[in-house]
């Protein structure tokens, strides 16, 4: 009877340990990064990859533009994060001549287009619509990928917002765009082995001194880091899972051993022996 009780207690302890492990992982999944509201949000957008305006996750950026402009923003996304970009376009109030299709594209630091896992990155706005809302959720950024893969890697991510189809009469009318990007930590379930030497950012490599004494080449402005810097690549909650597993195994071992020993003194040993 005592053995059973002890085993139950062991199991309960292990369970508590486990919850402690799983807790942070669960809590992480939905927490957006702290918003950088202390700094003034950008009110302009770039017009090309080179001139993209840097934004931070959780910080709404706005821009006044003309219908037909290509608006670019850039934000850093780190390994293990899943970025969601939301764009709201307030359409021109002047009488328009037909429906227009707006599109949100996301490119990685190598200017490779990244597919949206969820969301509606392309939407048609009816002739009388006041605004159109686009969203794009990227795949979780991995720390490492084969060079032949198009997997999202840590680095700069470019957001491009534009109208892709419209009646020519509506070209050049004023619009107002608002873009907000959020990054959510996906925890260790997405953690992979291997790391890049430098995040995929334009001009990242010139930081590495080159033996032939190359002069520093020009560098784009899109060099922002995520809040708290790029991850070192050493932490993942897999450490906790694995450690908890080890702990459970040890407790299981003790439990198994004690089952074979019975409880307390063997009954055949006479008292006082």
């Amino acid at each position: 009877m005592r053995t059973v009780r002890r085993m139950l207690m062991t199991a309960a302890l292990a369970g508590a340990g486990l919850l402690g492990v799983a807790g942070p992982a669960v809590a992480d999944t939905a927490t957006p990064s702290p918003s950088a509201s202390t700094e003034a949000a950008p009110t302009e957008a770039g017009t090309s990859f080179r001139t993209a305006t840097a934004i931070k996750s959780g910080q709404p950026a706005t821009a006044d533009a003309s219908t037909g402009d290509y608006l670019y923003w850039v934000l850093p996304v780190d390994a293990g994060q899943r970025a969601t970009v939301k764009a709201t376009v307030t359409l021109p109030t002047a009488a328009r001549h037909g429906a227009a299709t707006w599109q949100l594209d996301v490119y990685d630091g190598l200017r490779r287009r990244q597919p949206c896992k969820y969301g509606a990155p392309t939407k048609a706005a009816a002739q009388d619509a006041g605004s159109v809302e686009l969203t794009c959720t990227l795949r979780t950024v991995r720390a490492w990928a084969e060079p032949w893969a198009n997997d999202p890697l840590p680095g700069s991510y470019y957001v491009r917002l534009t109208v892709v189809d419209l009646p020519q009469e509506d070209l050049g009318l004023p619009v107002h765009a608002k873009v907000e990007a959020g990054t959510a930590d996906q925890g260790g379930s997405q953690a992979v082995d291997g790391t890049l030497a430098a995040p995929l950012m334009p001009g990242a490599g010139t930081a590495t001194p080159q033996s032939d004494g190359a002069t520093p080449s020009p560098r784009p402005a899109a060099m922002a880091e995520p809040d708290g810097g790029w991850s070192s690549g050493w932490w993942s909650d897999r450490w906790l899972w694995t450690a908890a597993g080890g702990l459970l195994a040890a407790l299981g071992g003790i439990a198994g051993y004690s089952v074979t020993r019975g409880s307390g003194r063997p009954s055949r040993v006479p008292p006082g022996a």
């Binding site: 292990a14 302009e44 017009t47 990859f49 080179r50 001139t51 003309s66 990685d108 630091g109 190598l110 200017r111 287009r113 720390a143 490492w144 060079p147 009469e169 050049g172 009318l173 260790g188 379930s189 953690a191 992979v192 082995d193 291997g194 790391t195 890049l196 030497a197 430098a198 334009p202 001009g203 990242a204 010139t206 930081a207 590495t208 190359a214 080449s217 020009p218 560098r219 402005a221 060099m223 810097g229 790029w230 070192s232 690549g233 993942s236 897999r238 450490w239 899972w241 694995t242 908890a244 597993g245 080890g246 195994a249 299981g252 071992g253 003790i254 439990a255 198994g256 051993y257 074979t260």
Partner: protein, 424 residues
């Protein structure tokens, strides 16, 4: 490993480099380096049609003047601004003379606000609309230095000086590789003007705005002038070759080139074994192209073996189509008698699958922007999982059961040994 330390050092280095490259030195704060100062020229149409009173009840000309006054007040320091007019002087009917009527009203340089405003105040709507010659003149005014350049063209009508197509003029100017953008503002939303102005904007990577209110005109011109002041990296012009053997050798940096339809351009990059090559390319659609298009960036060895490629295809309205690749050169041992293994040459090939209707000119080629970077190689994964560590309930159950079984076995063994020992 993306170690914080190295990154911090890198960022410091970068900041220093940026400070040197982009910011004025403290000694000359407020008076930027004339060589890299951004330049903008406001090009205003002063043709007879600017008399029409259809912008918030006032004439187009007075709307433009009002906007100019307010914009001139708010020009950021460090921007060199000039003003050019078209159609301001010649009242006659002779087309040939009318089409040469463009002059620099205020020279590009550090701005004297009063002088510039006085010059603008003298303008009265007069003549023709020679957009093409005005663009050529403006491009000439902006010559010199290597900062970014911008022409803000404000007009209310299409060019009246054919056969010089202003759109082609804009494309030719952009092809000179002087980082020039033309932003156009149309004061009259008619189809021909719109088509012409958006074509000019598209040809140079600029924007087109259709203006209906004075405030909108002012805000937009102001925004465009401010935009010029933003520090931006200007690419280095290069010219790719038709084969890898003749290709120019590129160091890490940003390059610009031109590529015609169905043309291949080759570049070479030296990579040390153990380093990773990163390259991205954007090909801009600066003219009317067919609906489907693509770009292919291919890295190969000098002998033509493909290493890795980046490809992208798309359809519909676009400014650029881009792709990129990364290629980690495998580490190699240094040969006898040398400290380091020899550099490997990687050939980069840029090709596009744009096409255009026969009416579209193929010269000059489309703008190509190529970013090349060489970083340390990645630390490759030996296991798909993070450091081989586990995750999830199955792991925990397995480990717990394994532990339990191990404990049981251990307990039984030791019990059996004790009983054997007792018996003996």
């Amino acid at each position: 490993m993306i170690t914080r330390k190295r990154l911090a050092a890198g960022v410091c280095g970068l900041l220093a480099a940026m400070a040197v490259a982009l910011l004025p030195t403290p000694a000359s704060a407020g008076e930027p380096d004339a060589k890299t100062a951004p330049k903008v020229e406001l090009t205003l149409d002063v043709s007879g049609s600017m008399r029409a009173r259809d912008i918030d009840g006032q004439s187009r000309m007075s709307a433009a003047k009002q906007a100019f006054n307010e914009v001139l007040d708010a020009v950021p320091d460090g921007v060199q601004l000039g003003i050019r007019t078209l159609g301001a002087d010649y009242r006659g009917e002779d087309r040939k003379t009318g089409c040469k009527d463009t002059r620099q009203l205020y020279p590009v340089g550090p701005l004297d606000r009063t002088e510039a405003k006085t010059a603008v105040a003298t303008l009265t709507p007069t003549g023709w609309t020679p957009i093409g010659p005005a663009l050529q003149g403006a491009a000439h005014d902006l010559k010199g230095g290597d900062g970014s350049r911008r022409i803000v063209l404000i007009t209310d009508g299409e060019d009246t000086c054919a056969p010089l197509d202003p759109c082609q003029v804009a494309r030719d100017i952009a092809a000179q590789g002087i980082h020039l953008t033309v932003d156009t503002l149309g004061l009259l939303p008619d189809a021909k003007t719109r088509k012409q102005l958006s074509c000019i904007a598209e040809a140079t990577g600029g924007t087109y705005t259709s203006v209906q209110h004075t405030k909108q005109l002012r805000d937009r011109v102001h925004q465009l002038v401010e935009r010029t002041a933003d520090p931006v990296v200007t690419p280095v012009a290069t010219q790719g070759a038709q084969s890898c053997a003749d290709a120019p050798k590129l160091k890490p940096g940003l390059y610009s080139d031109r590529e015609k339809f169905a043309e291949h351009r080759w570049y070479r990059v030296d990579v040390r074994p153990g380093q990773e090559l990163r390259a991205s390319v954007s090909v801009a659609a600066d003219r009317a192209v067919n609906n489907d298009y693509g770009v292919l960036l291919r890295a190969s060895t000098e002998h033509g073996r493909e290493l890795v490629r980046g490809a992208e295809a798309g359809d519909g309205r676009t400014d650029v189509i881009s792709s990129g690749l990364r290629y980690p050169e495998p580490p190699a041992d240094a040969p006898d008698g040398a400290d380091e293994p020899p550099l490997k040459t990687v050939c980069l090939q840029v090709s596009n699958s744009f096409s255009a209707p026969p009416s579209v000119k193929t010269e000059p080629g489309m703008p190509v922007e190529l970013a090349v970077d060489v970083v340390d190689g990645p630390s490759d994964a030996s296991d798909a999982a993070f450091l081989g560590l586990g995750h999830g309930w199955w792991l925990l159950i397995t480990l717990a059961l394994t532990g339990l079984v191990a404990g049981l076995v251990w307990g039984w063994i030791s019990r059996w040994r004790v009983s054997v020992w007792r018996t003996n």
